[in-house]
């Protein structure tokens, strides 16, 4: 029994502390009379001085004092309850925990007011009383022998009021005083019956613990305490008030600090106190029991605590989590949550992402203070909280280690990280696109080629690769034909090795030189990529100077052609075209072998030379206007500006590389940009074959004359515009078709060329159809005349409510452009002698040129006007 009891006792003290934070209403002894009397006393007494200490310990309110005192009683009660538990049933411990919980609950409520405590206390007391009445009765008589006066007084008190309540009250209030008595009792309960004994020993233990906390005096004070206690008890039946005062006085200052860690300090004190107690008690009658108890306390307590804590936690969680949590936070158990919290901290994604950086800061900044804080606590309560401390250290330390070690190497300074990123090759595209490209090198090559081709577009390096990729996939079948087309020179010659070389080497300077040498004729992209892609063989004015040189390398046919070209003035595009075409046919067969590159180079060189640039200064204004229009520039008034612009355009044409033709370039670069910035042309491409393809488009699209004009203008880029007959174009088409199959296409070019095919088709068609029209402006003027005629010649309406278009205009009605365009295109223009259709934009221009108020049926937001 004794051993069991000791174990129980050891376990009980921590419980007591835990409950200490609780109001533990049961402690209050006498429900009826006692309370009424006590309450005022307590309050006064507590308010006077003791409160602060106790309050610091755990409770802020005066009730805490009562509770603190009562706690001991509670402990006793628990000990009583725990008595059966001692036999080894876990349930008993759980019951304890539950009891604690109960006591805690009231404490929470009690904080607000003492009455609540009082009310609850009686209940517990009653319970306890019921359970312990017998024990108490037994105790009292037993006590008498030990400490006569005290026991007597207690007995009297009990007799006077309510035996259980009084005794407890006395115990509580005079806890310190009674400690001796309790100590004396301890042995007794052991001796007594199991139920009673258990109760008593627990109470004693608790008291002992408290006493230890309060001061070592208690232990040695046995005699003094008895003496003192007696008068107190005598004067005040309950003696609670004085007891409280004393207690507050006795309690050592550290206690208040400890209370936050109420559970822990208790044990620590116990451990410390145990030796003393053991010594003291050993000397005394109870020595045997006490020594055993103490010894058992030391060991058992540690074990018990762990178990108790676990049990407590478990019980709390199971039955009344919420309450426990509240108390723990508020009262003393703060330590436990603290260590847990750091472990459990949930990480946000951002935290995780930045953890590498953030933790470093923590290592130096945040953690140290926390660690210090813990360490201090740990030092204070080394033994008791020992497990906690190490846990904290473990939890934090491993984190630190892991982060520091694992992430430290990974972490890069922002600069270095940026560098790394800079070195990294990014290829943008859908996953499928990226996946399909077998070799990264391929993409890189494409990219390099793109960059080389578009210096202008460097701003958007990413747009091009995407296009390339997508197109490259789509157009495997196209490659051949496209390549073959591209491999053709303006004259129909095949471009040889050089092309490949150029492609392979994106170096721009080389390209510049080569470009100068190479043929810019067909390949040079014009400002307006849309329509320009049509590279005109016509455009290529073959340099007379170069011809001689080229003739050496060139086959007989070419030589003849060049001679013709030489003889023909630059302006005459006809000459260049007509000879070129036959040459193409012939060359296709015969000239494959002859160094096409040389020929092209020669031609280009001729062009590139300033001498070959047409002397725009010698042009008439009309001619200049045409040329300007051919570049899709709006008319410029200043002659000097026109000349300067044309020269720029000319140079640009010469320099621009074949890659410039790539469709990828088109979206990015605006014509103006192109004009201003001239990329060196890396490769000469022959677009002549493309023309024939383009034709169908014109027919299909009833495009307004201006487009045609522009197209035509583009064809005759540098030189005055020539007349291209459809026949010629057709011939070219046929030739190109035949050529398609013949030439193998270098793989790299495919991506770049993919975009081009549609554009050239349009251009060629327009060129052929609109051959008569010289410049957009002139054609526009002509078109406007036809439109005017068409509008004016319509007979006046016979119904005033539906006036003709001209009448509407005369009435200053706002003209709806779309409707007028439809009307023009559905016969009116044809009647007026214009064979073709008009674009609404042209109609708008016409209206504005005539001061006719016009508007779109659809506004910018897609809606249509409801009122006019």
């Amino acid at each position: 029994m004794a051993s069991k009891e000791f174990l129980i006792i050891s376990s009980s003290p921590p419980k007591a502390f835990t409950t200490y934070g609780m109001s533990s209403s049961p402690v209050l002894p006498s429900p009826n009379e006692v309370f009424a009397k006590k309450i005022p006393v307590f309050r006064t007494g507590s308010r006077a001085s003791p409160i602060p200490q106790n309050a610091i310990a755990s409770f802020t309110s005066a009730s805490s004092l009562l509770q603190s005192d009562s706690l001991h009683v509670v402990d006793i009660i628990r000990s009583l309850q725990s008595g059966p538990e001692d036999d080894g049933t876990l349930q008993a411990s759980r019951n304890k925990s539950s009891a604690r919980n109960q006591s805690r609950k009231p404490s929470v409520g009690n904080k607000s007011g003492a009455e609540g405590k009082v009310a609850r206390k009686p209940q517990k007391t009653t319970r306890k009383d019921n359970a312990a009445t017998d024990g108490a009765a037994a105790k009292k008589p037993r006590k008498a022998p030990m400490k006569e006066v005290d026991e007597e007084m207690r007995e009297h008190g009990a007799v006077k009021t309510k035996a259980p309540s009084k005794s407890r009250a006395k115990k509580l209030g005079t806890g310190d005083v009674t400690s001796k008595g309790k100590a004396a009792r301890k042995p007794k309960p052991k001796k007594s019956d199991g139920d009673n004994q258990t109760k008593l020993p627990n109470a004693q233990v608790t008291k002992v613990l408290i006493s230890t906390e309060e001061g070592h005096h208690v232990k040695s004070q046995d005699n003094h305490g008895t003496t003192e206690i007696d008068p107190v008890a005598g004067s005040l039946d309950y003696g609670l008030a004085e007891a409280v005062r004393r207690r507050t006085n006795w309690t050592p200052p550290p206690l208040p600090i400890k209370p936050p860690s109420l559970t822990t300090p208790g044990p620590a004190d116990l451990l410390e106190a145990n030796p003393f107690l053991g010594d003291l008690k050993s000397s005394e009658e109870k020595d045997n029991g006490f020594q055993d108890l103490l010894g058992s306390f030391g060991f058992s307590k540690l074990d018990d605590r762990a178990t108790d804590k676990i049990l407590l936690e478990e019980g709390g969680t199971r039955k009344r989590k919420l309450i426990e949590l509240v108390k723990t936070n508020g009262s003393a158990l703060t330590k436990a949550p603290k260590p847990k919290a750091p472990k459990k901290r949930p990480k946000t994604i951002t935290e995780q992402a930045t953890s590498a950086y953030a933790e470093e800061e923590n290592m130096y900044g945040k953690q140290p203070p926390l660690m210090q804080y813990f360490s201090l606590d740990a030092t204070d309560r080394v033994t008791s909280d020992g497990f906690k401390i190490p846990s904290k250290a473990r939890s934090k330390s491993p984190v630190k280690r892991g982060k520091g070690t694992a992430e430290a190497p990974i972490l890069l300074s922002p600069e270095s990280a940026l560098k790394q990123v800079g070195n990294q090759d990014f290829v943008f595209g859908t996953s499928s696109q990226l996946a399909r490209e077998e070799s990264p090198g391929f993409l890189r090559d494409i990219h390099a080629a793109m960059q080389a081709s578009n210096e202008l577009d460097r701003d958007d390096p990413f747009t091009s690769p995407v296009l390339l990729e997508g197109k490259s996939k789509v157009l495997p079948s196209m490659k051949r034909s496209l390549w073959s087309a591209a491999a053709r020179d303006g004259t129909g010659q095949l471009l040889d090795v050089e092309m490949a070389d150029v492609v392979g080497s994106p170096a721009m300077q080389k390209q510049l030189h080569t470009a100068a040498s190479l043929d810019g004729e067909s390949s040079h992209p014009r400002k307006d990529d849309d329509e320009d892609p049509v590279q005109d063989p016509v455009e290529t004015p073959i340099g007379t100077e170069s011809i001689e040189e080229s003739s050496k390398h060139v086959g007989p046919v070419e030589a003849a052609i060049r001679l013709e070209l030489l003889s023909s003035p630059l302006k005459n595009i006809e000459n260049s075209d007509s000879p070129a075409e036959p040459s193409v046919q012939n060359n296709v067969v015969s000239l494959k072998k002859p160094t096409k590159a040389h020929a092209s180079k020669e031609k280009n060189s001729g062009r590139s030379k300033s001498s070959k640039r047409p002397e725009f200064s010698a042009y008439t204004m009309v001619q200049l206007a045409k040329e300007i229009a051919s570049y899709h520039f709006k008319p410029i008034k200043s002659r000097d500006q026109m000349i300067a612009l044309l020269e720029k355009c000319w140079d640009a044409k010469q320099q621009r590389s074949a890659l410039g033709n790539l469709a990828t370039n088109l979206p990015v670069s605006s014509p103006k940009k192109l004009a201003s910035v001239l990329p060196p042309s890396s490769q000469p491409q022959i677009t002549s074959p493309k023309r024939p393809r383009g034709r169908p488009r014109k027919d299909n699209d009833a495009t307004p004359s201006p487009k045609r004009k522009t197209k035509t203008a583009s064809l005759a880029n540098a030189l005055s515009r020539a007349r291209k007959t459809q026949k010629k174009a057709e011939a070219l088409d046929e030739i190109s078709d035949s050529d398609v199959a013949q030439t193998p296409s270098p793989p790299r070019r495919h991506p770049s060329q993919i975009g081009t095919p549609p554009l050239p088709l349009q251009l060629s068609s327009s060129a052929s159809v609109d051959s008569r029209e010289l410049s957009p402006t002139t054609s526009q003027i002509r078109l406007f005349k036809y439109i005017t005629a068409a509008v004016k010649t319509t007979p006046p309406a016979t119904d005033p409510s539906s006036p003709s278009w001209y009448e509407k205009m005369l009435l200053y009605d706002p003209i709806i452009i779309e409707d007028l365009t439809v009307w023009l295109n559905t016969g009116a223009l044809e009647k007026a002698g214009w064979d073709g259709e008009v674009d609404p934009k042209e109609v708008k221009k016409w209206c504005e040129s005539k001061s006719v108020c016009c508007l779109w049926k659809e506004n910018l937001r897609g809606g249509s006007r409801s009122r006019y």
């Binding site: 309406a797 005033p800 539906s802 001209y806 509407k808 001061s851 108020c853």
Partner: protein, 419 residues
């Protein structure tokens, strides 16, 4: 959807300037400058947000461009004037004001306007092909602005078309510039000036409209004066000479061709001479009457009925009756009519024919007196009174579409009874 409205009697784009800070300007358009100016000055609701700062009020209309043949035309011109930096009506090579900044949206930011910049752009817009042949005229109500205009005109090599008259109407009671159409001038013309004297209705065309209506109603078209073909009634669009004694009727196309004899490339004539009476005509006048005849039944009705009422000297009551009768009357027309009334009242004032006017007349009298004071204040002060009347009379027809009950509620109830 065909156009269903006649050429508006009046539509203008105006250059608004703060009288407090001359640097603050605003460009807008309106068919009724008086009403609109009151809105800008906060006297009535509906002013533009840009002009609602109290510290800048009152505003004044320093310059207006009038004669727009349609509200769409006016709005287009207004927008072009407001956005000279991006409007496509100005060819790029002649653009004189360029945007220097971009908005967040990437659009070009409108440069800050000043009187001089707006005048220079106005000068430019009057020269661009889109507007050069519109029947516009420019009126200046402020000497400073007009001086700036003259200064700019000298600086620009290319003058605006002769067809665009520049009319000055300064508050200093200077002799008014030539006013085509010759609006009736009252004895108070010395103090009445500016926008308040503008004809914003068809009043000045009344006789012309009446004549045209009679010709058509009695099917007196006869044969086209030009092509000599018979003009079948209601089987074509015919123009009638506006000159009082001339009843020459022609095909519209014939007349336009006649007007464009010397300018075959142009589409719309600006002016010409009547083949019969050789009177110099403006095409817009001819066509305006034509459009009224074709599409402006209500307007013509109102115009002519008003005329009859005028004879009886119960202008106000009759006019309101008329306005009430017309179902679709919209605010603009209503206000126009009211302004018209007011003018008429002014005319009557000397004759002492104000018997029926009662309180109203006194109000007007007061405002008139204040007008005599200062120029700027006159405009702004006289308006409130007028405005009050307008709003009073407006409320009834505009709220309920000509329900008799509503009409009875109007202030004119008594007038009707008297009638």
């Amino acid at each position: 959807m065909p156009l269903d409205r006649p050429i508006p009697a009046f539509y203008c784009c105006y250059l608004l300037r703060s009288t407090v800070r001359h640097a603050r300007v605003y460009v807008g358009s309106t068919p009724n400058p008086v009403r609109r100016l009151d809105q800008h000055n906060g006297i009535t609701k509906g002013g533009a947000a840009r002009t609602n700062r109290d510290t800048l009020r009152p505003w004044e209309m320093t310059c207006i461009v009038t004669g727009f043949p349609s509200h769409i035309a006016a709005l287009q011109f207004e927008w072009a004037w407001q956005n000279p930096h991006i409007t496509l009506h100005i060819p790029p090579e002649s653009r004189i004001q360029h945007a220097t900044q971009k908005k967040r949206s990437g659009h070009l930011k409108r440069p800050q306007h000043t009187v001089s910049s707006l005048l220079s752009n106005l000068h430019l817009l009057l020269r661009v092909p889109s507007f050069s042949r519109w029947p516009l005229d420019v009126r200046f109500f402020n000497e400073d602005v007009h001086k700036a205009w003259l200064k700019w005109t000298k600086a620009v090599s290319e003058p605006i078309a002769d067809s665009v008259p520049i009319i000055t109407d300064f508050p200093s009671a200077e002799p008014r510039g030539p006013e085509r159409g010759g609006s009736p001038k009252s004895k108070r013309s010395k103090t009445e000036h500016g926008i308040s004297m503008l004809d914003v209705d068809y009043t000045k065309d009344k006789d012309y409209v009446k004549k045209g209506k009679e010709v058509v109603d009695f099917e007196r078209e006869g044969a086209c004066t030009i092509c000599q073909r018979e003009l079948e009634h209601d089987a074509g669009i015919y123009t009638i000479c506006p000159s009082p004694g001339c009843e020459a009727v022609t095909h519209m196309t014939c007349l336009s061709t006649s007007f464009l004899k010397n300018d075959p490339d142009s589409l719309i004539p600006i002016n010409g001479t009547c083949p019969t009476c050789r009177t110099e005509l403006r095409w817009i006048d001819v066509v305006k009457e034509l459009s009224l005849r074709m599409r402006g039944q209500k307007e013509v009705e109102k115009l002519l009925k008003v005329k009859r009422a005028r004879k009886g000297k119960t202008v106000a009551s009759l006019s309101t009756i008329v306005s009430d009768i017309e179902d679709d009357e919209d605010d603009v027309e209503m206000e126009r009519e009211i302004a018209q009334e007011i003018k008429r009242l002014q005319e009557f004032n000397p004759t002492g024919a104000q018997i029926d006017m009662g309180d109203r007349w006194h109000d007007f009298e007061d405002s008139d007196d204040t007008d005599a004071g200062s120029v700027t204040s006159a405009a702004s002060q006289s308006k409130p009174n007028r405005k009050r009347k307008e709003s009073r009379s407006e409320s009834a027809p505009s709220k309920a579409v000509i329900l008799d009950a509503v009409i009875e509620d109007s202030d004119w109830d008594d007038a009707l009874v008297l009638d």
